[in-house]
Symmetry: C2
Subunit: 404 residues, 2 copies
């Protein structure tokens, strides 16, 4: 029997033991990449743009021809032509000449600045007056200003946002190498469980954890594989693990939080692999087990839904991040606690909160409930942790809220 | 021609003009609901749990029988039986009696507290010693403690998180009424554009905006419909709008940011509907158009990818939120600016940042680039805004970063 460890130690165990569980790479079309994890550095091998472009509608000029001009004393240039979008300018600008270029059009050879159309006037007869001096480079994006060969545009491990998809499109990457989403198997155990669609009989409750944990891991970037409900019993659990472990990269087993059942889960993991952790000093969530069968992580979560939720949100999130090669992402906010919350005898205590703004300050009202009640967490805006070595939190304390 | 308006005014226009564009409701299986928007309040019509349950492994007792007991002076009770998981206890506890109940098992009639097994000892012969007094209600979840008929568990407009899915599962909701994801059509315009998979020729660039905007709206909770690239020209644009508007709930048209093209987009919207806004005092992003054709929002975004990105992230996010009936979600963090950034003559200036921690403080390095360069935003951790009435931001200023 291993000792109960702290949440920080549990995170350390996950990082140390499962560092090698990184998923493979797969190629996907660009339109399916947002939110996914980039598997390789993206280094450009071309110029973007591949030609000098105007950023305004106006006249391509030789800047020197405009020096000293003004509204009162325009520089008068000869219009050599009009550049069309999407084709080579085909124009060469000599001293005293200009060409009209629309936004995004190619800068003609010989020109080194763009003058906005607002700072020009046309005298007809192909004579254009420039009313404002331009410095070389004005309103021009040069070839390779955005991207040039050898520039690393994105690094492996980036969770791709819309702007990254834009950069990949600019580079012509219609397919992208992504980290595969780890397949995380989910088993619920317990004689008392019935499927969500069924009305519970005497002493029965619905299987809350299968759908909740599936949703949870999908949000972390994994793919959930629900293996359903199995009845209590060492051999049944052993068979379910042996049967399903091959088809997933990690396995979550929830329930079995009574002493006897928890012992079964431990014993199966010890028989088939290595037990790494038995119990975490947190509330709710203490009856948590971690082990490894072959190279695959197997986590036993409490049957109580609220406890399973916190264990998943903290530890399965960390595990999934490691498998994807990313830092686990969670957003936080500082808020003032509206009521005192007592500490919990050496256990980190996680508590849901509802946020509101009062006098321009973010306030967090702790949601009190018995352990295991999932409806108390539904509808919360986030949660916070009272550290295990704390005396509790007082009304008005500033807390860090993990936002949902 | 309408006047240029501020970003705040543009948000107001969206809220006022498109408040009625809320999407319909659809029923989906619970396993497909995470991240989606709840269409109706969820009010329970049953008890969860439907029976009194133990939260520990141990003995169900009449609390009064344990008063005054201790390690030195156990209360000795007669074991009436063992409760099985998933079935009615079938036991009645009288004075001086107890029953073994596993975690989650039903509390027998007559019992009003649970004593943890750690605080008991067995003397054989069905005699159990209780070593610690229990108060009535100890370690029991009563019928309806989690949910009771009439309790509103979740409100319409909630973006469903894993814990909400858990609560819906507990209520037996195997199907849930969700807001339909609005279908947002995307058109790129410009003679210079080639598809991402094609090598640009002279004067050509790849269509960055189609995939970027599609990714963007998917993250906001909408469904993207890419209608491809159309060449410049009033009639071509008009046909593309007429042809595709029926199959989507809103339309984004990017490109056409040269004066002539922008005028075309305006003119088509004015011919077919109502032009609401022409130009936003922001940088990048000024050449933005908003209108309505029939009841449907039509937004013209700048062709420059970085500008299109900011317009989408700010205004299309707001529009999508309104269509889904939610508050737009974005996460922020306070950070210290590592370099001064100058202000922009009456325009709100948006600038990407890279975050790092220095001496325990979050620092934001502004990413400088010419307008329109998407690679400068790729890989950023967020962005911030220098308000249009500001003198700029100094090194060390505390800024609010919109996190990516």
């Amino acid at each position: 029997m291993l000792n109960v460890c702290t949440p920080e130690e549990a995170i350390e165990i996950i990082r140390r033991e499962f560092a090698g569980c990184s998923t493979d790479t797969e190629l996907l079309p660009l339109s399916s990449c947002v939110g996914r994890v980039l598997a390789e550095d993206i280094t450009a091998n071309e110029y973007v743009p591949d030609f000098d472009r105007s950023t305004v509608d106006g006249y391509a000029v030789r800047a020197a021809d405009t020096f000293g001009c003004s509204d009162a004393m325009p520089a008068v240039l000869t219009l050599r032509g009009i550049v069309s979008m999407g084709s080579s300018s085909g124009i060469v600008i000599h001293e005293g000449e200009c060409a009209y270029v629309p936004t995004g059009g190619e800068i003609p050879e010989g020109a080194d600045a763009m003058v906005m159309i607002e700072h020009s006037e046309s005298y007809g007869n192909e004579e254009i007056g420039i009313l404002k001096a331009a410095a070389p480079g004005n309103n021009i994006i040069y070839r390779g200003d955005d991207v040039f060969p050898g520039k690393t545009v994105l690094k492996a491990g980036r969770v791709l946002r819309a702007e990254d998809i834009g950069a990949l499109a600019a580079l012509g990457m219609s397919e992208v190498a992504l980290k595969k989403r780890p397949a995380i198997g989910i088993i619920s155990t317990g004689d008392e469980l019935v499927p969500v669609g069924k009305k519970p009989g005497a002493g029965q409750v619905r299987d809350v954890n299968s759908d909740m944990l599936a949703s949870s891991v999908e949000l972390f970037g994994a793919q959930a594989k629900q293996f359903g409900i199995i009845k209590d019993g060492y051999m049944r659990l052993r068979s379910a693990i042996v049967e399903n472990l091959d088809s997933c990269d990690a396995l979550l087993i929830s329930g079995g939080s009574s002493v006897g059942q928890m012992d079964s889960t431990c014993a199966v993991i010890e028989e088939l692999g290595t037990l790494l952790l038995h119990g975490i000093a947190m509330k709710p969530g203490k009856p948590t087990i971690m082990g490894r069968i072959g190279s695959k992580p197997v986590i036993g979560l409490p049957g109580h839904p609220a406890a399973a939720f916190f264990v998943s949100d903290i530890f399965v999130r960390e595990l999934t991040a490691i498998m994807l090669g990313i830092a686990p992402r969670s957003f936080t906010a500082s808020a003032l606690l509206t009521e005192a919350v007592s500490a919990n005898h050496g256990r980190a205590h996680y508590c849901g909160v509802v946020l509101s703004e009062q006098d321009g300050k973010l306030c967090a009202r702790p949601v009190r409930s018995k352990s295991g009640l999932i409806s108390s967490l539904a509808g919360c805006d986030g949660y916070f942790c009272i550290p295990r070595d704390s005396e509790g939190c007082a009304k008005g304390d500033e807390i860090t809220v993990f936002l949902r």
